[in-house]
């Protein structure tokens, strides 16, 4: 028989905090806990969902005063017996407690192992497991809210809606094959195509929300581009509020890229300062520029910084080139060094229709306006994510499902018989099943029987 060994690990993030939690889970959990924990009652006798106050010991050495929360299987996070020790914060105390538990017979948990056990014990489905990972990694308050919604099964609901649509279409196809003798009005090809396309759009939209999900998870990416010496590093420093980039007035100073994270209005924003764009013979600088382009590709918003003292249209060419190169990004033209110029036109650029912002990275004038602007853009971009926070695997499976549907649309248009169309649609159903973890079985006929009058 399979023995579930007992694992332990620090369950709270590493770092400075007042309290920390060490989690212990597995078959020998209660026994091991009692070897280290001493109090009026021993843990083995405690009821589920009770809290005991006591002391943690490693042999003769007292480690800390703790509270032990006891959860008995299956009513725990992992579905196994679980004890959670709330101890004083910091790495030293919690580290010693983990060490003591290991000496008492536990094994250090592998990353994600508690959640894996929760999955294996049917405490959550695959999407929920993934959401827990996202929750832990959620970098913004928005992200954690969505992750919480996914835990509640919002995403699962959307998926089952998609699955229903596909089952219905498969049912229509089978109707024509298995019940051709019946007098049933069969669906025509145009209508069939429309139905598959609708399901495909639903699937694509869901997959598309991955992009917004990525913003919530990894942060809204903002790139700063501009000709050398436009003041990109100064702007980065002004936004971050401390000196991070090396600033000099020698053009081409930023050869590597600099990335900074900051929080604006509850959103995580990733700021990237890139090397200046100019024809360069310096090999290192050329590489820097290539790197800049690959970075800008990932950016949701690209700020093209213009040195207004050289004329407000000085960076027009660069802006146009970047717009052509990165059509899916948003752009803004930022006129820098307004403290040194008399020209103060703000609004929308007539030619490229991009917002224009005026500021001085040096004096800080207009920097708050830019921050507000970025916040607003970041919020706009995450509006699409109402229910689902997708990870890359889920998005990939949804895209595969959409591709299968595309193949079936091609087959429909080529006027190929239903049994071939069905193959691609069943493939799509399988992909969706891989997301939810539920195995596809013969629900197709149920869809037929519930909606059509079969049988002569």
């Amino acid at each position: 028989m399979l023995i579930i060994d007992t694992i332990c690990a620090l369950a709270t993030p590493i770092g400075t905090a007042g309290l920390a939690v060490v989690r212990l889970s597995g078959d020998d959990c209660l026994e091991i806990a009692d070897k280290c924990f001493r109090a009026k009652t021993c843990i083995a006798e405690a009821k589920s969902h009770t809290i005991l106050y006591g002391k943690m010991w490693n042999g003769d050495i007292m480690l800390d005063t703790v509270v032990a929360s006891v959860f008995r299987a299956p009513n725990s996070y992992t579905g196994e017996d679980v004890v959670e020790f709330g101890c004083h914060g910091g790495m030293i105390v919690s580290g010693e407690i983990v060490q003591a538990l290991i000496e008492a017979g536990a094994r250090p948990a592998a990353p994600g192992e508690f959640t894996k056990r929760a999955f294996l014990n049917q405490k959550m489905d695959l999407t929920q497991v993934e959401a827990v990972g996202d929750l832990i990694h959620a970098v913004s308050t928005h992200g954690s809210h969505t992750a919480a919604r996914q835990l509640m099964g919002g995403f699962t609901k959307k998926l089952s809606e998609l699955r229903e649509q596909l089952l219905m279409i498969c049912g229509l196809l089978e109707l024509e094959l298995d019940f051709s003798q019946e007098d049933i009005e069969l669906i025509n090809r145009t209508e069939l195509c429309e139905k598959i396309e609708a399901a495909q759009k639903f699937c694509r939209d869901l997959a598309e929300s991955h992009r917004s999900s990525e913003i919530l998870r990894a942060g809204y990416a903002v790139g700063i581009a501009g000709y050398p010496n436009a003041g990109k590093s100064s702007l980065l420093n002004a936004l971050v509020g401390r000196k991070r980039a090396i600033v000099s007035n020698v053009p081409g100073t930023t050869r590597d890229y600099i990335e900074e994270a900051l929080h604006l209005g509850g959103m995580a924003v990733k700021l990237m300062d890139t090397a200046g764009f100019r024809e360069s013979r310096d090999v290192i600088e050329i590489e820097g520029i290539q790197l800049a382009e690959s970075l800008l590709e990932q950016c949701n918003l690209i700020l093209v910084l213009n040195d207004i003292t050289l004329g407000e249209t000085h960076s027009q060419t660069l802006l146009r080139e970047l717009q052509e190169k990165f059509p899916s990004s948003e752009f803004a033209l930022v006129q820098n060094k307004i403290d040194q110029s008399l020209n103060k036109k703000q609004g929308v650029n007539d030619k490229q229709l991009v917002p224009i912002l005026l500021l001085s990275a040096q004096t800080g004038q207009g920097v708050q306006t830019l921050k507000d602007f970025i916040t607003q853009k970041a919020l706009e971009n995450t509006k699409g994510v109402s229910d689902a926070l997708l990870n890359a695997r889920q998005a990939a499976l949804l895209n595969q499902a959409a591709a299968c549907m595309q193949a079936s649309i091609v087959a429909v248009n080529a006027n190929i018989s239903n049994e071939f169309i069905a193959i691609d649609l069943r493939e799509a159903l399988k992909r969706i099943g891989e997301i939810t973890g539920s195995i596809w079985n013969e629900d197709i006929l149920n869809s037929v029987f519930s909606k059509f009058c079969i049988g002569k």
Binding site: L120, E174, L177, N418, E419, F420, C453, G455
Partner: protein
């Protein structure tokens, strides 16, 4: 009469016929087989519609024939009309169906049984299966006599606690005019076998001379009728069926009888098949439809009986007749026999092994409706599998089972063992995940070797098939290696509305196009040598005949045209096979696999799947359960 046998088959329906013939032939003189029937003259009766085959069912008949079963042959001999269904679709879903003479079918079946060596027909009703230490040792008949045996194949049909309903009248019996078997069902339940209740029905029969045929629409058979069996050389159409339909008046009349319906008044508790609902069920569930299709099927050449297909009902006689009279062409219809519903016991098939032997009692096999299936073809194929395995078991020669990837028979038995039976089970093409490969046209190529190994297919037939196989392979290779020049082929491409080619292309590539045929391309290849080369290749085999060319080219064409899809299915099969290889020990105690969900644990313990693949097909088992099992078995 000597009362000692090796195998006793109980029941002379379609399952019983195949089981007894297969057992006697596989037993090959070593085993003595008996068929016990309550009424020897009713053996092989077509108790519902006078037809064999249909979508997916036709596949079953062809498979059975390739294995050495007898249904296809009897259907050909007694056939009145032949049709290949789904001709407008791809070849995988073509399904043969025949109308049959309800007098001739049983007559030929009985003749066959009487002439089968080592098979004894016993007139009597089985009342008890004698069991000792959970092993079969005989059968007790209603006259008190005991027949000894080592295996029993029980094919009780609807006779186990059968009850027939017409309106509020209820009589015990499995079929009109025949008694029910009540004792065996209870006796089996006492061995812990779980039973359930199902329902099926049949429409009224009317007199041919009372129908106004001019008001109906003729349904003819195929222009070139094809037989089911490889043993039959040719068949012909002898009758025409006719179509008509119900209308709102019909529905209104039938509704008047709903308060006397055994279904709507709760007298029938068993669940009926959703794919074959009664007319009252159709009217009730699909109230928005103002018309339903009816097909009038003659039941034979020497009878005036007409089967009213689409009008299955258990409403009272008077309502049935009044309802029929509202239908175009049936205004003066005369009722020969009213429609009725039958409710009967079945045993949940998860209690079976893949050989159809019960897990509870060694040597006891179940086949047909007792396993919750409906249909002659489903019953016959199960009877065959059970009969063969009963014989193999007693001879000590292993098991005969088919996989889902090999045959519809494999799909059906796997479905039966894994899925919960909530309605009578019927085979569908959509049940076969590898249906592009499980075609009716290649049943012989898939299964004849098995039939030969069992001794049920003669050497000549098997050799012919193998030879055809070689020729198909030769043709495929030829198509892959023979190139056609644009000048040779463009004229033909234009004539079939395909774009012309500017480059030399292989026949294989050109044949993949929708509008081309392999036959035409092989002919174009001739020029100086082309077709001649192909033909020459073909003559290298003995028994060269151009008539068998058609079948070879057809097979090769299907493989070329659908190669993309077929290759995909082949890949899927290799994944499927890998999971079937991951065996689960029969003795596994699921209670010790802690991380399984309660539902999964119960289902797995009940069904006891033999492999991870099988476990994954059980309804209600999730991917998480499978990963738990995978981890556990590692």
């Amino acid at each position: 009469m000597n009362n000692i046998f090796d195998i006793i088959v109980i029941g002379g329906g379609h399952a019983g016929i195949e089981a007894s013939v297969a057992a006697a032939r596989v037993g090959a003189g070593v085993l003595k087989v008996a068929l016990v029937s309550m009424d020897l003259s009713s053996i092989g009766r077509l108790s519902c519609n006078p037809a064999i085959g249909g979508t997916a069912k036709g596949h079953l008949v062809k498979e059975l024939d390739a294995l050495g079963g007898v249904m296809g042959m009897i259907a050909d001999k007694s056939g009145l009309q032949f049709k290949m269904l789904n001709r407008s679709k791809g070849p995988a879903v073509w399904s043969p169906r025949s109308q049959n003479d309800k007098d001739l079918y049983p007559r030929y079946a009985q003749e066959l049984l009487q002439t089968t060596e080592h098979l004894t027909l016993v007139d009597g009703a089985a009342v008890e299966i004698l069991v000792n230490h959970d092993t079969v040792r005989g059968v007790k008949l209603d006259d008190g006599s005991e027949l000894k045996c080592r295996a029993v194949v029980l094919c009780g049909g609807t006779f186990l606690n059968g009850k027939m309903f017409t309106g509020l009248n209820c009589t015990a019996g499995g079929r009109v005019g025949e008694q029910a078997a009540t004792d065996i069902s209870d006796m089996l339940a006492s061995y812990g076998l779980e039973k359930g209740r199902l329902k099926t029905g049949t429409p009224p029969r009317i007199a041919a001379e009372s129908v106004d045929w001019s008001k109906t629409e003729p349904h003819a058979g195929d222009e070139h009728p094809q037989p089911f069996s490889h043993r039959t050389t040719s068949v012909e159409n002898k009758i025409v069926c006719s179509g008509t339909h119900t209308n709102e008046r019909t529905h209104a009349v039938l509704r008047e009888g709903f308060d006397r319906s055994p279904m709507f008044t709760g007298r029938i508790q068993g669940s009926g098949p959703r794919y074959c609902p009664s007319i009252e069920d159709k009217i009730d569930r699909f109230a928005q439809r103002d018309s339903h299709h009816i097909v009038l099927e003659p039941e034979g050449l020497n009878t005036n009986s007409i089967y009213v297909n689409g009008f299955s009902t258990s409403l009272p006689d008077d309502i049935q007749l009044r309802g029929l009279h509202t239908i175009s062409g049936l205004e003066n219809a005369q009722l020969l026999r009213a429609g009725y519903a039958v409710e009967y016991d079945f045993f949940f098939p998860f209690q079976l092994r893949f050989t159809l032997e019960t897990k509870a009692i060694a040597g006891l096999f179940f086949a047909g409706q007792i396993n919750g299936t409906s249909g002659y073809e489903e019953a016959a194929t199960q009877g065959f599998v059970a009969g063969v395995n009963a014989a193999l078991k007693i001879k000590g020669e292993g098991e005969f089972t088919l996989k889902r990837s090999e045959a519809y028979i494999g799909v059906m038995i796997d479905d039966l063992v894994n899925k919960s039976t909530e309605e009578p089970y019927r085979i569908f093409t959509s049940s076969a995940e590898y249906r592009l490969l499980l075609r009716q046209d290649n049943a012989d190529r898939r299964l004849m070797r098995h039939g030969f190994q069992l001794g049920l297919i003669d050497k000549a037939a098997c050799e012919q098939m193998l030879e055809r196989e070689e020729r198909i392979q030769y043709t495929l290779d030829y198509a892959k290696t023979t190139k056609l020049r644009p000048a040779e082929v463009n004229g033909y491409l234009e004539s079939v509305g395909e774009p012309t080619t500017s480059e030399v292309a292989t026949i294989d590539l050109l044949a993949r196009r929708g509008g081309t045929t392999l036959e035409a391309l092989l002919e174009i290849g001739s020029g100086e040598s082309g077709m001649k080369n192909w033909e020459l290749g073909m003559t290298n085999w003995k028994e060269y005949s151009s008539s068998s060319f058609a079948k070879i080219v057809e097979q090769a064409e299907i493989e070329i045209k659908y190669s993309g899809y077929i290759d995909r299915q082949m890949k899927e099969i290799s994944v499927f096979a890998a999971n079937e290889e991951k065996k689960i020990p029969e003795t596994l105690d699921y209670a010790t696999v802690k991380s399984l969900s309660t539902e999964a644990r119960q289902k797995l313990a009940r069904i006891r799947p033999a492999s991870l693949g099988q476990a994954s097909r059980i309804a209600g088992i999730s991917a998480a359960d499978i990963s738990v099992l995978t981890v556990y078995l590692r």
